[in-house]
Symmetry: C2
Subunit: 231 residues, 2 copies
Amino acid sequence: MTLYNPTEEAEIPEVVIRRLPIYARTLAELLGHGIGSVSSNELADRIGVTAAQIRRDLSYFGKFGKQGKGYDIAYLVSEIHRILNLTQDWDVALVGFGHLGQAIARYRGFRESNFRIAAVFDDDPEKIARPAGPEGLEVLSHARITDVVRERGIRIGIIAVPAAAAQQTAELLIAGRVVALLNYAPVVLQVPDHVCVRDIDPVAMLQSMTYYLDKSYLRAHAHANGLVEDK
Amino acid sequence: MTLYNPTEEAEIPEVVIRRLPIYARTLAELLGHGIGSVSSNELADRIGVTAAQIRRDLSYFGKFGKQGKGYDIAYLVSEIHRILNLTQDWDVALVGFGHLGQAIARYRGFRESNFRIAAVFDDDPEKIARPAGPEGLEVLSHARITDVVRERGIRIGIIAVPAAAAQQTAELLIAGRVVALLNYAPVVLQVPDHVCVRDIDPVAMLQSMTYYLDKSYLRAHAHANGLVEDK
DNA sequence: CACGTCCTGTGAAATATGTAACGACGCGAC
DNA sequence: GTCGCGTCGTTACATATTTCACAGGACGTG
């Protein structure tokens, strides 16, 4: 009944899924340093989580390690990639080609990943038909989002438009059968249940850090730097 | 003993702190629409959380609502800002002035916030001394990070350098008494306990979404769009 | 092949976080 | 003033997530 069974629908917690890319990235780094295997302890130190958490997270999906040895990195990376559906390339639609959109289009991290910007949209007539990025893409009109995304079978969208336009953009993408949205606009998007959203909101992140930056906190921890760094 | 007491050190969960900026932003939006008060239910709908959660979150800090009426928006926003230490402006050091750094420097969201980019650094000699942003800032050498940040009393840093340089950049900032880092590099930073880090990693976010984008998921939810959108 | 070491996978316990439910209060109607 | 409605703040409960701790496999050694 409550038997553990990784192949059945075990309803894996989303926090676990969110950690897997970090595991994969860190493992790939180690591989790049010529390291072939690693224990949960060593990996945990490097990532800043506990070893038990890593072992538990992985155990949702199967058994990937060897007792006494640890994990074979190349194998574990490939398994995580398989779990996350990263064995294929994914086409992505980028909406908004202002400073932010252009920075995203040029971002090296995407180039080195499995994600390809396959279409770029903007509603500024001056930008339309301009070349977007190195692969000979051109900026398409906002009005064509739904049709183009649907025709090309794109399931992932990046929203890099001003806050006021974000909700409508999301709706156009979803109408074109996009089901995953990376949202850079500082707005909570209203989307149907089957659509997955991740927000990137640097201002909110800074604002949540300043909570810890009041005088008493800074004073309490002043020595941590002061004593070491002051000559 | 276990008495509820908002003024004592109640150790407020970090998840709660992270939600406050979203509450504040959404409330400010409502205020912009000329709405003066709101119930936890209405606010919850707009943000996509439960009303109980909003009431519970706020109760960590005090009593801000009126029974039967809801919350006075202007008052609640000002209280949240007070809690998050947003009643002052915060100087921020930006390290890395490539495409990403330039997009950050120009980002409208920062302009409209309490955060001011007060110093910009890069290690590319060609960029140094170039004007950075509209306020007459100039790009300073990487080598001056620690000194400049310390002299100006900057406590917040934004890391927008390549992955390989991120750890060293963090150390230079921390040596200059920075205690909050917004990290755009796809690396897990190793920092002392008193330093607060938030990571922005769009690739990791996309990779965690593709987990849900396998064939069976897309099939199971196909009707959600198909039936509605197909003519 | 017996022993010791190392490290996984996992059940059980401990924490943390989220939700439901309700007493109490404010306000307007009558 | 009393009633009824709406909504907060809070407690008790439910669920989710993390951590502990240990049985047991793999491997090297003598």
